[in-house]
Amino acid sequence: MADAPAVLSIRNLSVALPEGGDRDYAVQGIALDVKPGETVCLVGESGSGKTVVAHSVIGMLPKALPVVDGKLRFEGRELPPQRSKAYDSLRGLKISLIFQDAVASLDPVQRTGRQLEEILAVHGVARRARFKRALEMLEAVGLPDPARIYRSYPHQLSGGQAQRVVIAGALLLSPKLLIADEPTTALDVTTQAEILGLLARLKKERGASVLFITHDFGIVAEIADRIAVMKDGEIVEFGAANTVLDAPEHPYTRRLLAAARKSAAVRESRSSQPVLEVDDLHLTYRTGGLLSRKSVHAVKGVSLRLEAGRTLAVVGESGSGKSSMARCILRLEAADSGAIRFRGEDITSLTGTRLRALRKKIQFVQQDPYSSINPRQRILSAIAEGPIIHDAPRREAEAKAADLLETTGLSAVAGRRYPHEFSGGQLQRICIARALALEPELLIADEAVSALDVSIQAQILDLFRSLQSKFGFAMVFITHDLRVARSISDDILVMKDGEVVESGLAARVFDAPAHPYTKALLSAAPDIASRRTAEAA
């Protein structure tokens, strides 16, 4: 296998960035090959140039990103220049590309079946054969009721189903090379596991090679034959999977791997004084007008207990009700029934000034740092706003804000700038600073690191931990990422469909999950450790 000629070989590829960017090249000096039947993982953080490589292979680089150097060969022949018409006969037939957001990559007003048939049509498959082949393919990607899916519109599919349809389309004509650009990032862990399994199976069945683009070392560990690590437009390390994972050479690779492996030290329960108690909480969302009323029972009887200074991780897949529960505790949403007690006081139905006074004690960090700060507000003013609302003198509040900026790892000068001048990681630090400016006793972080790159994630998680030990707040940390949960939590709460399925000390739940769903979650999660144990076994 190692001696077979490469399906794809990239030599010395350089793509320029338009002027005024933070670097001159999108990618520089890329050398990469994919051999028949092989899965090559291109791993790197956002902005590292992975997608540029993928798009250059399929000839879809925009005019603004010209190829300035290098050669791309596919099955021994040189690929046409970017955006050439000649690509029409390669794309879909010889090389396929699938994107992260499957639902968005399907035309919303056409039935999925028609979109599959279109691929066959443009590549010259006879009209009569199309329906059968499309249906077969839908079955091959493991969709439950292919005929129904065939007739469905994209918006009627779940994310996982849509990704299966997209994969069906990509592999319909058995291309030699499949480029998958973060195909599972938008999916839940369990669905992700299924899709990865599916890709592996089809790859084998159809004899395709895969160029898999991801930021997640867990996935890499599970599927890669070879790994190319990208940083700032260059490949810093390229080698066999085991070599890279076990003996990374480049410091950057090491750092990434370390970030992916972190887990929290176990802390014993120190106080018996609960900061937060939730009893049998229910929440139903009602939407629609007079005639199209709809309701979703988002939270069903959740109870929990959190002690001062400790961190409770709430894990679960999307739609499990974890964020809704958080919004109830924050009193951003009014619960239908149940009780929320903060330091023994029932806060379930506080209103007006008493509610506003309570807000000082319970603070909030959200998922998307970009949208979490008013774009028209200077950073310092955003951080100082909380204390000012709670009647602190402006000068004092701003001095405190400047302090917090430094505490969270930014310079005090940054306070004069506007949000758009910061990166995601920096903005999340600012959000944390803003939350802490009120010296809360409880901090609720809702997917607070999900939008960030792995190395940044690690930094922010470290920040949370150090701030927690400094200020002593209790924390509810909501995440879908088990690795993140493991790295930060003392206690854990697993949610599914609005209900708590399992809770307890983090170490206990991770090591000996009791509930089948927890077990399924843990086994679905791609993990570097699990690969090694699997191989060792």
Partner: protein, 302 residues
Amino acid sequence: MTAYILAKLFRAAATLLIAVSMVFVFIRFSGDPAAALAPPDAPQEVIDQYAEAMGLNKPLWQQYASYLAGLARGEFGYSIHTGRPALELFLERLPSTLRLGSAALLIALAAGIPLGSFAAINRGTRIDRFAMAFSVFAFAMPNFLFGLCVILGGALIFQVYFGGTDASVLPAALTLGLAAMGSFARFARSSLLETINAPFMRAAEARGVPYMRRLAFHAAPNAAIPLVTLIGLSLGALIAGSVVTEQVFGWPGVGQLLVRSVATRDIATVQFIVLAVACTMVLVNLLVDLLYLVIDPRIRSR
């Protein structure tokens, strides 16, 4: 889907009822409604008869109820000068207004959408800039000035009369449709641009779908969806514009009837035309909503 249709129907009915009620309120509270509806130089006795017939001595809610009942029975009042039912006068003019309006809409669509699409496809080029300059021109040109220029130009240069209904509908329809053409072009451009840059367009490209096919089979149907709303919205502008255009071209349509009825203070006719316009607008908007069902599967399965 049923809920969607029901909701839209309910909303249309409510809108119509409010519009009708507003007309009622307006007439009742603008001085003496009987004097307004009676002939302008009618003696007091006649006005009193009108007041009696309209039930002005009854409590307001009874008047309102009988007004609604009258509308439901199709009693829309009589033109004071000709003594003919307002409905009849309206219906007589309707065909020529429809002819003008539909031709204008057609011109606006047939010229505006290709223009906008062409601009979108050639975004940033000279073609784009020219198309957009033209669309702004079409929008900024005062309707009647353009119409008068067209008419005088036709007569003095080509010896052809562009007014009235006997001649070709084209000049009048062009005048009426010009502004709508401009907005269609701009809207088509932005709508198509948004679609062209949508992820599914890149995905289709990655599947090997050729450029023209992507445009025709994927971009166009998706870009058309928001355009449907614009057609509904532009109807109001077309109705308003037709008042002026009919006046300029001596076009014997509803717009001219309205202007003349206002000049002669023929309130019954004016009132009916206002109701008819509101009704048309509501119906068209309802149709637009229902059309969404046909063209947008996302709404169908709601």
